[in-house]
């Protein structure tokens, strides 16, 4: 029982990170109808930026801020310099270009930082509190929950309560109509990429210290988990992404704890296959057709 409780909290903590990362995928999917396969590589780049700053200044939080900023800048750059010029008539083009970006980013990071794993510090202890002899949560887990919760809250408010959020949604759903109503659709697209990349960077900052360490390919496996989370929730649904993230996190935690850690990635793959074949629109998909 105590192991179950521990694994559950551990799974929710991991799941929160996958939720954030899945959210970043959903943001871009909704804005541009592209699954950004480069999101993992972009997040790693932001974490490397934070690593440099933290190493130089000794301040985790300065690095944390720089990671988010680097995410924003990367998002803008990728959209303005590359994605904008992709023939968006086909999702395949976006996928292939994103894969090209993965190669470029991982190569550049390898050239700058080398290909060895670098350990990354956490700002809070990862030792779990014990309540009545049962290990439950660590301070770091609480930090993860707070950070991801804040992201979800801010995004929700942005999209439902602000004029800019309304513009972003309209631009994504009906670009031509939005332009006729004075919305700068290109600007909203860039903003969407920037936001998504910043959220992805946050997820990277949270997850890298808990895995093997910093490496150009550090987010590859995380990407699979987050993609699975996004698909489980339905690529169009932010709520689905969060729920999907928690589901994937729990699955990984239980499989690692009760079966074997090396089996966990295969369990995720299996979940992905089952959802894709059983309910390809995701568990939270709305049945109505999109009308642009």
């Amino acid at each position: 029982m105590s192991q179950f409780i521990y694994l559950t909290f551990d799974g929710l903590s991991r799941g929160a990170v996958y939720a954030a990362f899945a959210l970043s995928l959903v943001l871009i999917w909704r804005a541009a109808r592209i699954v950004n396969f480069a999101q993992g590589a972009m997040a790693v780049a932001a974490v490397y930026a934070a690593y440099s700053i933290t190493s130089a200044t000794g301040s985790y939080w300065l690095g944390f801020g720089v990671a988010l900023l680097a995410g924003l800048v990367l998002g803008v750059t990728v959209e303005r310099v590359v994605m904008r010029f992709v023939d968006h008539s086909s999702p395949l083009n976006g996928v292939v270009v994103a894969l090209g970006l993965v190669l470029v980013i991982q190569g550049v990071l390898g050239i700058i930082y080398g290909n060895e794993f670098r350990p990354v510090e956490t700002p809070f202890s990862r030792d779990a509190f014990e309540v009545g002899g049962v290990a439950m949560l660590s301070r770091y887990d609480l930090f993860v929950f707070a950070a991801v919760g804040a992201v979800v809250l801010v995004l929700t408010l942005l999209f439902t309560r602000t004029a800019i959020g309304l513009r972003m949604r309209a631009a994504a759903f009906a670009p031509d109509v939005s332009r006729l109503l004075g919305v700068s659709v290109g600007g909203m697209l860039t903003l969407g990429w920037a936001l998504a990349a910043a959220v992805g960077s946050l997820a990277g900052m949270l997850v890298v210290p808990t895995e093997l360490g910093l490496h150009p390919t550090a987010m590859d496996v995380v990407f699979v988990s987050a993609f699975t989370a996004a698909v489980v929730g339905g690529l169009d649904s932010p709520i689905g992404a969060v729920t999907g993230g928690l589901v994937v996190g729990l699955l990984l935690s239980y499989v690692s704890g009760y079966v074997e850690p090396t089996v966990a990635p295969m369990a995720v793959l299996l979940l992905l296959v089952v959802v894709l074949l059983g309910k390809p629109g995701g568990l939270f998909s709305s049945s109505r057709a999109r009308v642009a």
Binding site: F37, L92, V96, L99, G100, F223, M266
Partner: protein
């Protein structure tokens, strides 16, 4: 040949003529492959050992790029998982080889195992479109290498396995022998694919790619065609993996990273999707570009450039080709794009 074609177009065709045309169309790939074999044979006697090794590597890559270009270019399915299928073939070959010490048996084992693996993935893939298919195959590419850690008793984890190979027969140098083995595999693959693509199967592939509804109305079994296409390309990948095991005389998960799968996509996109000659160019690039990047890295003396510069070059080339000229994708690319557009 061309005379026949115009005749076919204008007149009611006597059975004998159509028979001749068909055998003519079948004959062309055979002739090209025979010419290719002679060329390779000559090259293998004239090139220095290191060049021979590179030539052999091109042959090994050609097996997988040829299969992949049929899958993606002609059937419209984008797979990012063929690196994992290569790993499957390589491990199957190695395990069989170390047990029975017979190359033919080991190659057959590799082909049988990847046929099964390809059928399993293909069954799932046939129901998926666009980014979903890309995501699933990407997951396969990333997750499958971890199998080696789960069953480390069999696969020996990250260390991998070494391959027990008999020395080449007679006094043939190792590199020349490798060229022969790899190009025998490559030319057989290309010949098989060329004949398949020219026949009824090829028409079905294209029909499914261009318009699923129309293909269905014409009585084509969509799912069966797509699964078959996946299996065919998986066999190419498996054979390629087995050849890499022969070349390196070892296998390890590190030899089949995600970037390998991405390289393969790049190779077929740049080569021109759907053409077997494009697959050849892609295979040449896969060998030439890293060599080029490596020589630059060595000249600058930076050890971090090694490997990484190749990634950057590949990535930039891929992006530039996609942005500047889907000409790399050539004409078949347009129909491919249409197919993906329908999935939105």
């Amino acid at each position: 040949m061309t005379d026949m074609k115009t005749k076919v177009g204008t007149d009611p065709v006597p059975a004998s003529v159509s028979q001749k045309t068909r055998s003519g169309r079948r004959l062309a790939p055979v002739l090209i492959v025979v010419a290719g074999a002679i060329l390779i044979l000559i090259l293998s006697y004239t090139l220095p050992p290191f060049r021979n090794y590179q030539l052999a590597t091109v042959g090994a890559y050609l097996c997988v790029t040829a299969g992949l270009t049929v899958l993606t270019g002609l059937n419209g399915q984008l797979s990012l998982g063929h690196g994992a299928l290569m790993a499957t073939g390589a491990y199957a070959f190695t395990l069989a080889q170390n047990k029975w010490l017979s190359m033919p048996v080991s190659f057959v084992t590799a082909i049988v195992v990847t046929t099964l693996a390809g059928a399993v993935i293909g069954l799932a893939a046939a129901r998926l479109r666009g980014p979903y298919l890309a995501g699933l195959t990407l997951a396969v590419a990333i997750v499958v290498p971890s199998v080696t850690s789960t069953f480390d008793g069999t696969f020996n984890s990250d260390q991998g396995l070494s391959v027990m190979l008999d020395p080449p027969p007679g006094t043939i140098p190792m590199e020349r022998w490798q060229v022969w083995v790899c190009w025998a595999g490559a030319l057989l693959t290309v010949l098989t694919l060329a004949l398949l693509v020219r026949g009824r199967f090829g028409r079905q592939l294209r029909a499914v790619r261009d318009d699923e509804t129309a293909a269905k109305l014409a009585g084509i079994n969509i799912a069966r065609t797509q699964v078959l296409a996946f299996v065919v390309s998986a066999v190419g990948a498996g054979l390629s993996g087995a050849l890499f095991a022969v070349l390196a005389q070892s296998v390890s998960p590190g030899a089949f990273p995600l970037t390998l799968s991405l390289f393969l996509v790049m190779a077929i996109v740049i080569g021109g999707l759907g053409s077997l000659f494009g697959a050849l160019w892609g295979a040449v690039l896969l060998v030439a570009l890293p060599t080029f990047a490596q020589s630059i890295a060595e000249q600058t003396g930076s050890h971090r450039l090694e490997g990484n510069l190749a990634l950057v070059v590949f990535g930039v080339v891929l992006i530039v080709v996609m942005l500047a000229a889907p000409g790399g994708i050539a004409s078949t690319g347009n129909t491919l794009i249409r197919r993906f557009r329908r999935t939105r």
